[in-house]
Symmetry: C3
Subunit: 271 residues, 3 copies
């Protein structure tokens, strides 16, 4: 697929504020990756202020990584405010399926907030889709455990149609669909799974991309490819995970559209 | 201005406990920078224990970066205890002006706790001063948006007189005033703004400095210069932000009074 | 002492889920060190979900570093669930003795949850043992402040017998006892104390070790030695603390049983 755009240049020119309600494990990395790509992160999660903060932002990232009672209401409030303001909402349903609380919260967010982009691993996305589908389309949690790429592409596409947004499923190969177009992104290295928060970082990074670019499968694919490519450029054989984490951040901060254009490995899925 | 002191040596000799009630985004960096300069960080924010912890500490740093209902009461309680114990309190009013909640909390802290040092960027400090001034002196939020150095020096001086403490306004050039003396510190590199938490780190670092040194504009200027100089020494052209963040911490840990003396760029402002 | 085992290989083969209820200062490092050793960290602390999460895990790490009202109940609930599921619980009583709240919580956990491993510094462990002992054996907080190695070995042994588990006391020399056998581990470098969270990281790392290996003094000693040895291998003279922190993580991720076997410095204490 040809790739020719100025996604990153547009972020750096606009320096958009991206509001994150996220977990306390990877929040520092999320803030730093947004700065690295040229956005302005704001982390604010108290119910009393999230609407105001969403109101001055260009995108909202909701990540349920350390979900707790204190911020559940904040997520819904901020999401609704974002919807009313016309800014996109990214949902990272961390651990959806691992606990009822997370599964229920994912469903609640999908029901009460218009989600522009869902970003998770195959297990989280399948779990989220099965509960969402079960409620709305009679589809139940009968996915096989197969990691089959074609199945993931179909889930991503159907889920995207269901939420009228973009769904990104990351794993060995990443799949991004907006229901109309489905892409497979093949950037990245396996060692990224050995650093906590590469998923969370990607969700926040995606917030930066869609804050300054059209919300569609191409933009989200560019975010996904940026993360993977930074991993490829930053990794060298025998590297420890501490150094790789530093190097990954370096490569995002040094990334530009030219480097991305040359390094992106993306194919259109014809399902 | 001549600079000749043993600020850092005094911290390393005393290894003072510095109590931080801070945000969950940059808290790890705040702890590490205090260790790097020779202090002992304690992060404790529950209302049930903050007075005890403040009671064994030599300085208290209050940072409202991820302010929430759970810790608002803790901040006031710890602040009052610090006042009663005679230890200095540093306030970093992160995001003051960005939400009513933060603005109100900043005002509450200024009214109920004797603040020894305020450290923020121009927007936060102006916002804090305008609300504080409005209550006490009839000054309202009529500052122009000018980033004019002279104006910032005047705000810092007036605010310092108002709170009978030290005010540090950081930005391209940093301004520190205790009402009597106002300094402009010209250390630092622009890329520091691309790492989350350099402001928070400086506030905690300042806690280390005033835990073991007199609370005045000179001491706070030394803290501000230490941070900026570490940035200068740690930065090299083309460096990614991941590496720069590591290197900044390195340079604080390797800093001593001799390096600071040779690298500090400080001028007295004659307003 | 001869050392010959496959502790690390077993972790990497099993990739066990380790549930952490921990503090927000060092949580990212705790997650990364578990990934580095080959385990799968989950950080989850809300009372509504901790039992479910503990139920899918192979070990539970409870760390009271930023203890607060919100998670006190979660710690007890998760601990009881872990006990019922037969998975080991590691307790890191950070700051036990520094505030009544932490001391009381440590006691509560020791009374309501079967703790398999306690890991703390001498001051924390003595404080915990004195209150525990006071309740159950009439021993009061009359330890001298002596850092005497023999005394620490005796405390570790007696405490281990008292809780019928393993007690690890880390400091210049580390002591690990399960009541029957007591080991002194002499790995590590002093600069590790200049990085926040090396203790917390060790507690989480220990969670990884006992998730896939027998719970006894030898296994915990292997975890303690792994951390210390990573410090030795990662440190070089004149290194700043930012770089050392990265390098420490590198060395854990590159560690294997052969390197550990060659580098471990361990002696049996004959008290």
């Amino acid at each position: 697929m040809s790739y020719n755009s100025d996604y990153i240049e547009r972020i750096r020119r606009a320096n958009p504020i991206v509001h994150n309600i996220t977990n306390y494990v990877t929040v520092n990395d999320c803030a730093n990756i947004l700065l690295a790509i040229g956005a302005s992160p704001i982390m604010a999660d108290d119910e009393e202020e999230v609407e105001e903060i969403a109101g001055i932002s260009k995108a909202l990232v909701i990540n349920i990584g350390t979900l707790n009672q204190r911020t559940m209401g904040s997520m819904v409030k901020a999401g609704k405010k974002a919807n009313n303001s016309g800014i996109p909402v990214i949902l990272d349903p961390v651990g959806c399926g691992a606990s009822n609380m997370r599964t229920k919260m994912t469903l609640k967010l999908l029901e009460e907030v218009k989600i522009s982009v869902m970003r998770g691993n195959a297990s989280e996305i399948k779990s989220a889709f099965s509960i969402k589908g079960a409620k709305t389309n009679g589809v139940d949690a009968s996915f096989s455990d197969s990691k089959d790429l074609e199945e993931i592409c179909n889930v991503a596409r159907d889920f995207a149609l269901n939420i009228k947004g973009v769904v990104a499923v990351t794993g060995k190969e990443d799949v991004v669909s907006d229901g109309m177009e489905t892409y497979v992104v093949k950037n990245g290295v396996e060692s990224m799974a050995k650093i906590t928060g590469t998923g969370c970082m990607l969700s926040s990074l995606t917030g930066g991309f869609i804050a300054s670019n059209p919300v569609n499968a191409k933009t989200v694919s560019a975010a996904v490819a940026t993360m993977g490519l930074a991993g490829e450029l930053g990794y060298s054989k025998g590297m420890g995970t501490g150094s790789f984490r530093v190097s990954l951040m370096d490569m995002v901060s040094l990334m530009d559209d030219q480097v991305l254009k040359e390094g992106i490995k993306i194919e259109r899925f014809k399902g």
